[in-house]
Symmetry: C2
Subunit: 192 residues, 2 copies
DNA sequence: TATATTTCTTGTCCTGGTTCAATGCGCAGC
DNA sequence: GCTGCGCATTGAACCAGGACAAGAAATATA
């Protein structure tokens, strides 16, 4: 159950067996069926979830009901609303499973306990967030600077697995275009 | 020279006098005139700069010369291309002073030394990056989901100082709209 | 196998925003 | 006190992508 996550963490920093035991002991295992909303906008996010199996997305909804998918997460990714998790403030996004999931979860308390006992991990988490930030920066750039078609092609290249697992209109909402227009882009690409 | 930055850091964690001395001792002070490019795309970013005085922006340029401003930074902000800084890889953005600046800078080496000597700061930096990430997430959402006018109004509310200090076309490139259209949005707002 | 529900496609019309070009404005340099 | 240049405004033509509607496929449910 813990092989994958331990591999993930030890890619960033070396841990002793004892430290790994502490880590694993603090994780809470949960199985969640698909189409479950793990976090509602307005609620406080009390988890950081590592996906051992399954697929999750988090997304925003504006006043008019318009949806924007912030992230798709599959095996070996973490999911949370960090701002809400860190500061116990109401979340401004939703988190929803798209497939049946096996998760390994930290709460704010267990995370603090973990960091207190294994301070090395502070660095791992920082690097994780940094990576996230860098990816998001370049995504913002592409969202603004490139056409729908280029965004779609870029997405396919970067995440070739995702389209096989999630519905197309979710991808549209990730790219920031309408589901209809994505369909048109696709047919145009197929004709070539 | 160090009051401001020390205040900034001690807002997040308590440091002893000795630790503060180590911290300050590792910072490199630099004055830079305006319109200086501190980092070119393709170069390796070897600094994290705290702005003691001045104004800086970082931005992307695509193949067609189209510019997107990622961030305006003024007093009490940090500027860097973290991905490039952390992994010594070529930057994919530019960093440029918009005003004469007084900077306090860390290099990858001094930062590592600092974190080794004052491990507490690992957490400060993590929280800093987390805050950045959260802001960027909601910006991406707004970029996709709201009209040019709403983005502009939101910007004014969030950063009322910036428009007094930077040219309007930079703000347009931050909002992801053309300079001409921002001008039209503004005149429309004034008529009300 | 039939039925319901969700997803995807396709067409038509519409609009927010772009592009290009012209004009005006402010201010730094000499 | 000119001159030149970067910046902001305005207008006209254009277009990428949205909204809506209707139908076709695909998938789940029974």
């Amino acid at each position: 159950m813990y092989e994958r996550i331990n591999q993930y963490v030890t890619k960033c920093t070396l841990l002793t067996e004892a430290e790994i035991d502490i880590f694993n002991g603090l994780l809470e295992y949960r199985e969640v069926p698909k189409k479950t909303i793990l976090l509602y906008e307005g609620a406080v996010c009390n988890f950081e979830a590592y996906i051992n199996k399954g697929c999750i997305r988090n997304y925003y909804i504006d006043e008019n009901g318009f949806e924007v998918t912030l992230q798709f997460a599959i095996e070996d990714w973490w999911v949370s609303d960090i701002a809400s998790f860190q500061h116990h403030t109401p979340a401004n996004m939703f988190i929803e499973t798209l497939e049946d999931c096996h998760l390994l979860m930290l709460s704010p308390q267990t995370k603090e306990e973990l960091l207190a006992k294994v301070p090395k991990l502070e660095r791992v988490f920082r690097l994780m967030v940094q990576r996230n930030l860098a990816v998001l920066q370049s995504r913002l750039f592409k969202t603004i600077a490139t056409s729908a078609q280029d965004k779609y092609l870029d997405f396919l290249e970067r995440y070739p697995i995702i389209p096989q697992r999630v519905a197309q209109h979710y991808i549209a909402s990730y790219l920031g275009i309408s589901a209809e227009f994505l369909s048109k882009v696709r047919t145009k690409l197929l004709k070539k």
